[in-house]
Structure formats: C-alpha cells, structure tokens
Amino acid sequence: MLTTTEYIVHHLTHNNYSGVSDGVWSLHADTFTVSLILGFIFLSVFAIVAKRAKVENPGKFQLFIELILEMVQTQVTDIYHGKSRMIAPLSLTIFCWVFLMNLMDLLPVDLISFINISRGSPESHWRMVPSADINATFAMSISIFLLIIFYSIKAKGLFGWIKELFVAPFGAKLAPINFVFQMIELLSKPISLALRLFGNMYAGELIFILIALLPWGVQWILGTPWAIFHILIIILQAFVFMVLTIVYLSLAIEEH
C-alpha cells in the first residue's frame, strides 16, 4: 500500500526511457507514445474524411469535420491578413492535436496504473496526458517561435527585421531599450504559450489525482463537477493555443 505522497508522486512521474543515455537525452516514452497515437488518430480521421468528402449530401461525420475546419478557417481569415498556405493547416493541427491530448485528462487517473499494476509492474510509470508534460507544450511553442521569426524575416527581410528590433517602438535613439523590450516581447510568446497549456493541464491532472485520494463513496461529489468543468477547459485551452498562434504569426508579418 502506497502512502498519499507516494501515490501522487507515482502518478506524476513520467515513464522515462533512458536506454541511450540519462539526463537531457532521455525520452518520456508515455508522452511520446500517447501524443503520437493521438496525432495518427487525428490525421487518419481527417485524411479519410478529406478523401471521401462529397460536395453533395455530406454525412453527419463529414459535417462535423467541416464544422471544425470552418471554425479554424474563420479564425484564421479574421485574424491573419497575410497570405500563407501553412497557417490554416497549422492552426487546425494545433487545435485538434492539443484537444485530443487534453482529452486524455478525462480518462480515470488510475486506469493506466491499474493496468500496469495488474501486469505486475508497480514501479512503471505512465502519464496519460501529453499536454501536462512541459516538453510537449514547449515543443509546440518553440516550433511556433521559430515560425514567428521565419515569418518576420520573410515579410520584412533579415535586415528589416533586425532593424525593427532596435528602432521600434521608441525610435533609433533608444536602441538598447528597444532591443530589450523586443526581446522580452519575442521570448514571452513561446513561454506563455507553453506554460499556459502545461499549467492548466497539470493542475487539472493534479486535482483529479487529489480527488482520487478521497474515500470512494464521495469522490463523485467533487469529481463530477470538476470533470464537467474540465470539458470546457480542454476545449478552451486548445482554442486559446490556436488563436494565440494565429495572433503571434499575424503580428510577425505586420510592421510595428
């Protein structure tokens, strides 16, 4: 029998694969596997619907996919005024992938551990929610950060972008202050994106774990409202991540 602390720590420890090397080069097998499977689910569902899409008499599922697609498209065309073949598919991928990863938070917290323990491996850890792993959220936000830089250079030229880092917003006379401000602004984007999603999902997961520590008869009193509330949060966080990505990329192509 585990103590409360041991139970929580067990649930919050990643399945760390360190076959190659320890430390920085080890890999969270749980995050990697779950997010990869969810990514495949997202892609295969959308690719199948895209392949079978009919102009006339679409099925209910096709309409549902179209609904998501049109929601993303509306957001992109409302916010982003440049021309890009990448930003809309990027937004769709972010929304769906993040949503599916967040959705894992609604699985019972002990489900995977129960399967593991029943297989006789109590020491093995498995965290089911990839978006509650800071590696996953930073992976996306740093990719977007690189895209922000790429789009800035594409829109303004390398020299134009570097110049803007020094002259905006206060003019050339205050170049060092400008640069500091611009750096803070630039770096705060990926950090806030990643930490917002991570924080929400990690907190949600933690609260589910704490609820699971209550006596089994009263768990539903807190568990049900939190799960219902969490349905809202997982969609909202996916949506916010997507919208902020579009906003940051549209800011990248605009002149200061």
């Binding site: 430390g23 997010s35 690719a47 697609l69 990027l90 990719s143």
Partner: protein, 156 residues
C-alpha cells in the same frame, strides 16, 4: 519539470503532423467546401433566373392573350359584317330573280293566250261551217261557199 529529448521528439512529431495536414487534409477539404459554395451560388442564381423567366413568360402570355382577344373581336366583327353583306346580296338577288320569274310567267301567259286564240280561231271556222250546215240543212255547197268562208276566216 525536466526538459529532455522529449521536446525534440515532440517537435518533430508536430512538424510531421503539420506537414501532413497541409498536404493531405486541408487542401481537399477546403476545395470541396469552395466547390459546394460555388454550387450553392450557382443554384441560387439559377433559381433567380428561373423566377425572372417565369415572370417574363407570364407577361408575354398576358400580352398574347390580349392580342388574341382583340383579334377574336375583330374576326367576329368582320364575320358579322360579311353576314350582313351576304344577306343584302341574297335579298337583292332574290328580288332580281323574282322579277325575272314574274316576267317569264307573264310572257308564257301571253304566249299561251295567243296560242289559245289561234286554236279558237281555227276552230271557229269549223264551228261556223257546222253551224251554217245545220242552219242551211246541208243545202250549202261547200265548194261554192268556200271563197266566202275563207274571206270570213280572214276577217275574223
């Protein structure tokens, strides 16, 4: 909160997902949606056009009906006129014909009258001779009196 190679793996996964969506998911779906939008727009335009055509056709029908009515009235008027004309002509012809018949009848009567007179005239001689024979009780010589009788016949 330990950052490790997972970040790199996740970033690669993310890039592949975005690439796949860009290549195989987004373009066909948006193309299909655009096609549908175009189809709906076409349908609405066709409906509008059909409505307009129907209104045009109705206007044309009304116009045609009016002209047909006018033409019918004209035809009826013409027919009435023609009928009156025919009646008048028939009347005129009847008058002419009846006059001719009357004239013919008169001529025939005249002819019959002359013919009857002629017959009577030829019979009168015989009758007179017969009468005279009776009166003279066969004492009259026909040869003798022939001259006288012929004179009498001529005088008749």
């Amino acid at each position: 909160m330990n950052i490790n190679a997972t970040l790199l793996g996740q970033a690669i996964t993310f890039a592949l997902l975005v690439w796949f969506t860009m290549k195989f998911v987004w373009p066909p779906l948006t193309k299909m949606l655009d096609e549908r939008a175009a189809k709906i727009a076409d349908g609405l335009a066709a409906a509008e056009k059909g409505k307009q055509e129907l209104m045009d056709a109705e206007a044309r029908v009304a116009q045609e009906l009016k002209s047909v009515q006018n033409r019918a009235v004209e035809i009826i008027n013409n027919a009435e006129k023609r009928a009156n004309q025919l009646i008048d002509e028939a009347k005129d012809r009847a008058v002419v014909e009846s006059n001719k018949i009357i004239a013919d009848a008169k001529a025939r009567i005249e002819q019959e009258f002359v013919k009857a007179k002629e017959q009577l005239r030829s019979q009168v001689a015989t009758l007179a001779v017969k009468g005279a024979e009776q009166i003279l009780k066969a004492e009259v010589d026909i040869k003798r009196h022939e001259q006288m009788l012929n004179t009498l016949k001529a005088e008749f």
